[in-house]
């Protein structure tokens, strides 16, 4: 019988892994470079650059003049939360669109608008991200202006009347995204992973003879020699 079913090479050691990786280093590097380049090209040439602008308003909380320095914490928090929501409601954003004569829809505005408040202060931050740094600034300012106008002018929002005070004006938008070095870094990491994965799959599929011992085990035939792979001398 020349066939043996015992194939101990099914086990794979740490050294084998290292050997596989080293043998395919060119392939792995190629994958890494390729995917990093794709990521870089995407970050530098495909994705639109966006700019963020932001400004703050402060919420005026009613204090009881009889008790010095007192206020209702619960009501204050609710007021803060209401204003945060209010500023990104259609009632305000419609006015912004009309004010700046924008071609955006309110949904588009909402997607790029972030209104945040903190638990520890009465400030609300309004941030808008846009491809145009100037427009980002204008939208932030307009959101604040229109919020104040609607709050003060519309009786439906009487609870918000005179509660919003602008504390800063928006600056020209600053660079926000894409984070190019991050894209490249992710590309490199992803490329490395894909490369290594590919190499292992390739090795797994390659069920061929790797050592003289495997040959000797498989066939009852003498292995007369092992001829190394050699390189043609450069000067030849």
């Amino acid at each position: 019988m020349y066939e043996q079913n015992l194939e101990p090479e099914n086990e794979i050691s740490l050294l084998d892994l290292y050997v596989i990786l080293r043998r395919n280093i060119v392939l792995i590097l190629a994958f890494t470079t390729l995917i990093a380049m794709i990521a870089a090209a995407y970050a530098f040439f495909v994705v639109d650059e966006t700019y963020a602008s932001n400004a703050d308003v402060m919420v005026q909380v009613q204090t009881d003049p009889n008790i010095d320095g007192s206020y209702d914490y619960n009501t204050a928090q609710k007021l803060l939360a209401t204003i945060v929501e209010f500023m990104s409601k259609d009632v305000v954003l419609d006015e912004v669109i009309r004010d700046l004569d924008l071609s955006y829809t309110t949904t588009q505005l909402k997607n790029n608008l972030t209104v945040t408040s903190s638990n520890t202060s009465f400030f609300i931050n309004i941030k808008y991200v846009d491809k145009d740094p100037r427009l980002a600034k204008e939208i932030v300012d307009s959101v604040i202006n229109q919020s104040i106008l609607v709050a003060n002018g519309n009786d439906a929002f009487s609870t918000l009347k005179n509660k919003i005070t602008r504390t800063s004006f928006a600056d020209m938008g600053v660079y926000e995204a894409p984070n190019k070095p991050l894209y490249v870094a992710i590309g490199i990491i992803l490329g490395g992973i894909v490369g290594v994965g590919f190499v292992f799959i390739k090795e797994l599929m390659n069920n061929s003879y790797r050592t003289k011992e495997q040959l000797e085990q498989a066939f009852d035939i003498q292995v007369m020699g092992t001829i190394p792979e050699f390189e043609v001398k450069e000067d030849f």
Binding site: R23, I227, E231, K233
Partner: protein, 244 residues
């Protein structure tokens, strides 16, 4: 087995850039590779103590497992040892021997068998390598007919008288049945397996086929072994290597 150190082609296709006329045993006689060839010869001599193995066939599972490179280097070393060796290119479909010797593939075996030339005209001598060889010759569509020809049998019988060794380079076993026909003419077969090339199933299949035909497999030669692959062997290398 010979490959260029670096090429874009290799990088992209992972293909080996063959350079058949580079005889490492001749150009780098002190190398470890040459030493490995010497070992094969010693093993062959052990297997052939009675000197009854004269016609030796070389085949493999798949193409480009290093047959031609192996045979040419082996024949060179045999020639160096004062053996009278002739090399026959019986790979009539994809002849390569002419590339080893850097000559055009003409006035070869098929021409001789067709009666176009005499045996003397068919036998070339390479001063460079120091052995005789016969090219495959003009391509023919009836390869099997040629291989089964009585005249080929007679030719080999004739060469057997003249030479110490008649080495037959033949096509791989898997793709065509040529190697099986040729095996009837040979005293034994040396089977070549390249590292990491043919799937195990295919190699087993090829050897099984040969055995079923009652072929005398003298041994296996493991070629294209990557020294840096870490599958053992590595330590020896530094000891032998003198010019890395």
């Amino acid at each position: 087995m010979a490959k260029k150190k670096f090429s874009i082609e290799k990088l992209i296709n992972g293909e080996r850039v063959e350079k058949y006329d580079y005889l490492i045993t001749k150009y780098d006689p002190l190398s470890f590779v040459t030493e490995s060839f010497q070992k094969v010869i010693i093993n062959l001599e052990y297997a052939n103590v009675d000197k009854n193995l004269k016609v030796i066939q070389f085949t493999s599972t798949l193409p480009s497992e290093g047959k031609s490179t192996f045979v040419s280097n082996l024949s060179y070393l045999m020639g160096q040892k004062g053996q009278k060796v002739i090399l026959l290119d019986l790979d009539l479909r994809k002849p390569k021997m002419n590339r080893v010797f850097n000559v055009p593939n003409k006035n070869g075996l098929t021409d001789y068998l067709a009666g176009k030339i005499t045996l003397d005209e068919a036998i070339n001598h390479s001063d460079d390598i120091g052995i005789d060889f016969i090219n495959a010759g003009e391509k023919t569509t009836s390869v099997i007919n040629v291989l089964e020809a009585k005249k080929l049998k007679e030719l080999i019988a004739q060469l057997r008288e003249i030479y110490d060794y008649v080495l037959l380079d033949t096509p791989p076993v898997i793709s065509v049945s040529d190697a099986l026909y040729i095996s009837k003419l040979a005293d034994g077969v040396i089977f070549i397996v390249a590292q990491g090339k043919a799937k195990k199933v295919l190699v087993k299949d090829a050897i099984k086929t040969l055995k079923e035909y009652g072929v005398n497999i003298l041994g296996i030669v493991f070629t294209q072994f990557d020294m840096k692959s870490g599958y053992g062997y590595g330590q020896d290398y530094s000891y032998y290597s003198d010019d890395e």
